[in-house]
């Protein structure tokens, strides 16, 4: 009997759902057993790369640094019965997993995410403020949330996840290009400066609270889901993955509403993203891994998975046909619909950024330096210089 190990992390109930599917798989393939090793997310980010580099990695892992770890992925193509199925249904995402563009098939998205804001609709109602509608700009939202907050004495008008990934969507809306003509990263341009300046000003004028972006260092992630769930903030810029969690933690305490990505001069886009389940090159059982991956990507299994976890499908066919989400919460359903609808309007730059192997270098450089600027350790201009230096240095180091 062959044992396969799958390293997994959980944001919600996806582990349990996956376990259910795996049980069925084992039933169908008695000679293969699959063990789900649930680790803290920190291990996926920090330990997994080292383990993979040392050759001690698992057979399959759920990862978020899609491109960065691509050198360790297994190309499943030779082992798949129907590679075309994969190309058709996972086409755009396969490139994220293979930034070299060689056409390898290494895995699929357990979850597609789209970034975008949530608002506390109830607060708007209580304050009697009109919610900005489709096509509203970030400035409109800033003004509206400020109005609500001051009317109801809400401490934080607007909160964003402390994450470069979250910022890049709006930044692209502001006109950031992220890459130069040759496709090399060019982090700081006019659009990015506008975005950074905007965030900086919001922190200065109290639209955003320094607690989030100012209170930790480096690239540390901090979310505002608690503040949002406790109605401490009017608008929360995060992403589709919060839906299952809000459905349980907020429930019907107030009306939490996902709204379409606000606009900038260049676009109205969020960032795509997500986690992928990928096969690892280090495996001793590529055949069995392929068997498992094929099983997992069967349409009905994926449909069950996305449906139960309330994840936006990373399967084009299912995206088209729609997944029946296992929720009777109208707010969750609305949010899912909103994010799913946003997928077509995502800017190509955003896709390119998400597919770029070293995108985290850019994210981190931006968020850590901007954070330092916000607390006053650097001026914004110094911060821009440092961002570029950081990116340049890390890429150089990697190229050695």
């Amino acid at each position: 009997q062959t044992e396969l190990r799958m390293t997994w992390y959980n944001d919600g109930n996806e582990g349990e759902v996956m376990q259910g599917i795996l049980d069925r798989f084992e039933e169908a393939n008695p000679d293969i057993s699959v063990t789900l090793d649930v680790v803290p997310y920190q291990a996926i980010l920090e330990s997994l790369p080292v383990q993979l580099a040392a050759g001690d990695g698992p057979d399959i892992a759920r990862v978020t640094d899609l491109g960065g770890l691509s050198e360790y992925y297994l190309d499943l193509t030779p082992h798949l019965e129907d590679p075309e199925y994969w190309r058709t249904n996972f086409g755009p995402f396969l490139n994220w997993l293979d930034p070299t563009g060689g056409g390898a098939i290494s895995g699929f998205m357990t979850q597609l995410t789209v970034t975008g804001p949530y608002v506390n609709k109830t607060l708007f109602e209580q304050a009697g403020v009109e919610m900005p509608g489709e096509g509203a700009t970030w400035d409109d939202w800033a003004a509206a949330t400020n109005e609500v907050a001051s009317a109801l004495d809400i401490p934080i008008p607007m909160a964003w996840d402390r994450s470069g990934h979250r910022v890049f969507g709006p930044a692209i809306s502001m006109g950031a290009e992220l890459f130069d003509e040759e496709g090399n990263p060019a982090l700081v341009d006019e659009g990015m400066r506008t975005m950074a300046q905007m965030l900086y000003d919001w922190h200065e004028d109290g639209t955003m609270a320094k607690e989030l972006w100012g209170s930790v260092s480096g690239s540390t992630y901090l979310g505002a889901n608690e503040e949002f769930a406790n109605a401490q903030t009017v608008l929360y810029m995060s992403g589709s993955w919060q839906i299952p969690q809000f459905a349980t933690t907020i429930g019907d305490a107030f009306d939490w509403w996902a709204v379409p990505a606000p606009c900038g001069p260049a676009a109205c886009t969020g960032m795509p993203g997500g986690a992928a389940l990928v096969a690892m090159e280090g495996t001793e059982h590529p055949e069995e891994v392929a068997t498992l991956m094929e099983f997992l990507t069967q349409e009905e299994n994926l449909a069950e998975f996305y449906g139960e976890t309330l994840f936006i499908p990373g399967h084009l066919g299912l995206a088209e046909s729609g997944v029946e989400f296992a929720t009777d919460d109208p707010r969750a359903a609305h949010a899912l619909a909103t994010f799913a609808a946003a997928v077509p309007s995502i800017s190509p730059i955003a896709y390119e950024a998400q597919g770029y192997a070293n995108n985290r270098v850019m994210f981190n450089a931006f968020i850590s330096r901007l954070g330092e600027a916000i607390v006053g350790e650097l001026t914004l201009d110094e911060a821009f210089d440092r961002m570029e230096q950081d990116v340049e240095q890390q890429l150089a180091e990697q190229a050695r």
Partner: protein
Amino acid sequence: MADATAQSRPGVLAMLTARRGRGKLHWTDVFSYIYLGLGVLLMFGPVIWLALSSFKTPAGLVEFPPTLLPLGQISVPVEGYDDPLLLFSVTTETGETRELAQIRRIGIVRQMVDPAAPDERIDVPIDAAEPIREFDMAWENYTDPLQRFDFTRYLWNSVVVTVVATAITLLINSMAAYGLAIYDFRGRNGIMLLVIGTLMIPITVILVPVYLVVTQMGLVNSLWAVILPGAATPTGVFLLRQYMLTIPRDLIEAARMDKASEWAIYWKVVMPLAMPALAVLAIFSVMWRWNDFLWPLIVLNRSEVYTLQVGLNAFQGELNVQWHYILAMTVVTLIPVVVVFAFLQRFITTGIAASGMK
């Protein structure tokens, strides 16, 4: 004879008035007891606060101002509704307060019902209703995360790691300490310098090289990978050696005259006498091993070898900070430490005092 009566006054009063010198109550006496009182508050308070908080619901946790005890909202069964409904204290427009149960909330309005008169529906603006609460321990903070994984297995792994590692640490460190304390040999100073030198290297900075060594030995994903690397602690050698130096040489020589082999001297004479220092090291070792997180996270990626610390943190996802679980799990990991402390604290005090060093 005010002093004499003070001496024999019993109980708390005596405790409050007892003091070092004779003569009048010195300002230092007053200061001492204020300091000690504040000390107890400051040292114990936070831990107790943590323990209390760990029984609060997520909503209770973020409540401001916080309540001292964990409270839960009361729900009552109401005729005509399948599930019990949550009870609120409602201030009506006329200013009187009533206890109403909520059916559902729509926008900024709660649809409510009087449990006594279930037929009539009342609409109440949300800010006019206050939840009614009572003391309620949110045990689910503990049971939920513990059910999410194989708690007993991880616990067993943690216990194995802690016990085996502590045993190995005590054995090899005490042997080394014995060698360095009892014998006078060429190279001893060199080894002591090495020990003291490495005493100061924080493990965090050599994580990767140690991982390389462990990989090369093929230990990854076995408990040995967690047990072995920290076994030869310079701290332990240093502590034990300093203590063993205080054992009179005569005893060693007496044992030699008594035909004891060097090994017998080590374990029958020196080890029992080094008990206080061994106990201190044992306590520290248990503490280190039990709480170890960063290192197991790197070398263990298979669930059958997870330790409790890795397992408990596995519910920390990419995007959640679930304080109610974190606090509860913190309390869980605290329990063995508290137990060890309760049993061995007199060893700690005599041990460290006697070894005069860490």
